[in-house]
């Protein structure tokens, strides 16, 4: 019996396989106890991960750092690509690349769309509370009203109309300052 690859079983276990692949994998798994066992182990592993406490990290910082590294990699790759690798036209290689492009293109259109949002939404402005204050972010641009003297803000309030506010108490005067960001 030909068994599916482990990464396909992992995608199936996580509910992330596309509809056609899921159908094929389900058909195999119904008759294969070994693969069912593998899927059960993956699910147990995922459940264990979900129970882990996330470390208290500055995720925005990490995201920015990762973006920087990716860009660095892309730029380095661009330098490498200036060298001509292929001396001439290779018909078999061309067919192989065409097949690969077809496969990637099919995968793109057959993927489970529930897990992806339209690109327009990514650049929509988002309001959020961060460790340093209340923030409005759109793409790479952001404006943050910082907590006073770096104190933790209290009593975050959100209005479904598109407002988010936090309160800060001045350590010296005891006055309450309310920082608010809102969508226009």
């Amino acid at each position: 019996m030909n068994h599916p690859r482990d990464n396909d079983l992992a995608l199936l276990a996580g509910g992330e396989a596309g509809p056609i692949r899921r159908f094929l994998l389900d058909r195999h798994v119904r008759t294969c106890a070994d693969c069912r066992q593998t899927i059960a182990e993956y699910r147990e592993f995922r459940a264990g991960l979900a129970d882990q406490e996330l470390p208290d990290l500055n995720w925005n910082f990490l995201a920015a750092d990762m973006r920087a590294n990716i860009r660095l990699g892309l730029e380095a790759g661009a330098c490498v690509r200036t060298t001509h690798v292929f001396g001439g036209w290779n018909r078999r290689l061309g067919i192989a690349f065409a097949g690969l492009a077809l496969l990637v293109g099919s995968g793109f259109f057959l993927r489970d769309l529930r897990f992806h949002r339209p690109a327009a939404e990514v650049s929509a402005p988002v309001l959020q509370m961060t460790a340093s204050g209340v923030e409005i972010r759109k793409g790479e641009n952001s404006l943050t009203l910082l907590n006073h003297h770096g104190n933790a803000a209290t009593n975050q309030t959100v209005s479904a109309e598109g407002d988010m506010e936090v309160r800060n108490i001045d350590g010296e005067t005891g006055s309450v300052t309310i920082n608010n960001v809102s969508l226009q």
Binding site: S159, A160, M164, T177
Partner: protein, 365 residues
């Protein structure tokens, strides 16, 4: 490489992020912030060195101030504001408003000020108002002031009826309630799901349960929101005006329950801008097209139930209604609502300076 810059003054820290190189630059407020106060403003600008120091140049006591912050290049599609409620500034006195801002964007040369600060409104002790009111500051400052009057009266009454021991018991109960209050992290966006939704499965419509406060002039009738895991979208609530007066604004407090049965204050559902003029006895629907994503300690909080109550009403004549202290004590659920800024300030005075300072503050006005 520091990604965060905090200043002790009115610091404008600009963080350039250009992919590979990030640097933080603290800019001088005089070069980078443009401060606009109208010529007839009741506030004079005194200094920008330690926050914005302003002087009450009018003839009445000031109870609240809101400043509008715009930085269009950094926050297209949004704006900010800094408000100082629960103050009592006599004519001729100065007060300071801290404005600490961080701006982030890709490297680009810019000329001129990056941030514009404008006066949006000033509320006086007779509840009269000055300002362009672009942010509806009059309404917000008035609600905060009415809540402040309610809470000051409550603690003063405790002091008069039961002495300093009674006041101490009440303020300790308030501090305990504030400490126990569970809070959610919420991100909010318009037009589609909030960023980072944990379980983007098919939406289902969940109905609100309602807490009817005995004295509320407006009553919620039915309502629902689309729920996907830890995300709630497009809440809508139908209300009826049970008072004898026309209403021009209603806000509904929104509580959510997680799968473990814990309740949180999620936010509020207000009437949309200008959509609301609700005659006596008539119905209206509050509807908002936003998505809220809930998490706690970095983990998504899946929504299992929702409860709502009327938290603010503004009548057409400008008078406002807020729940009484008795209303807020009428259900254990309402223990999780946020205290007023004034109650928070009074609790802070007690915690930092003790009972005599709190008594002196309550006797001040």
């Amino acid at each position: 490489m520091s990604l965060c810059n905090k200043g002790t003054a009115a610091v404008l820290a600009v963080l350039f992020t250009a992919g590979l190189h990030a640097q933080t630059t603290a800019l001088s407020p005089s070069d980078s912030i443009k401060i606009d106060l109208p010529a007839d403003s009741p506030l004079n600008l005194i200094s920008t060195t330690m926050g914005l120091t302003l002087r009450n140049a009018g003839a009445r006591h000031i109870r609240g101030v809101t400043l509008l912050i715009t930085a269009q290049e950094f926050a297209p599609g949004g704006k900010g504001s800094v408000a100082r409620p629960s103050i009592d500034v006599p004519p001729g006195e100065n007060f300071t408003l801290p404005i600490d801002i961080r701006l982030v964007r890709p490297v680009r040369e810019t000329a001129g000020p990056l941030v514009r600060v404008q006066l949006d409104g000033v509320l006086f002790d007779d509840l009269s108002f000055y300002g362009p009111n672009k942010l509806n500051s009059q309404r917000a400052l008035t609600f905060w002031e009415v809540e402040a009057q309610r809470d000051r009266a409550y603690f003063k009454q405790a002091l008069q009826a039961r002495g300093q021991t009674g006041l101490q018991q009440e303020i300790l109960a308030s501090i305990a309630k504030q400490a126990d209050r569970p809070q959610l992290d919420v991100s909010l966006s318009r037009n589609g799901p909030a960023v980072g939704s944990a379980v983007p499965s098919t939406d289902h419509m969940a109905q609100f349960a309602f807490l009817n406060l005995p004295g509320a002039p407006v009553q919620p009738l039915e309502g629902w929101a689309a729920i996907s895991g830890n995300e709630a979208r497009s809440p809508q609530i139908e209300v009826i005006n049970n008072s004898g007066k026309p209403v021009r604004y209603v806000e509904i407090g929104w509580l959510v329950k997680d799968k473990q049965g814990r309740e949180y204050l999620a936010g509020s559902v207000p009437a949309s801008e200008s959509a609301m003029v609700l005659p006596a006895g008539q119905r209206a629907r509050l509807q908002q097209d936003t998505a809220l994503k809930f998490s706690r300690a970095g983990r998504p909080v899946e929504i299992d139930g929702m409860t709502a109550y009327v938290s603010q009403v503004e009548f057409a004549d400008g008078h406002v209604w807020v729940p009484s202290r008795r209303d807020l004590d009428s259900s254990p659920l309402l223990r999780i609502t946020a205290p007023s800024p004034e109650e928070q300030r009074l609790a802070d005075i007690y915690a930092k300076k003790g009972l005599p300072a709190l008594v002196a503050e309550l006797n001040r006005y």
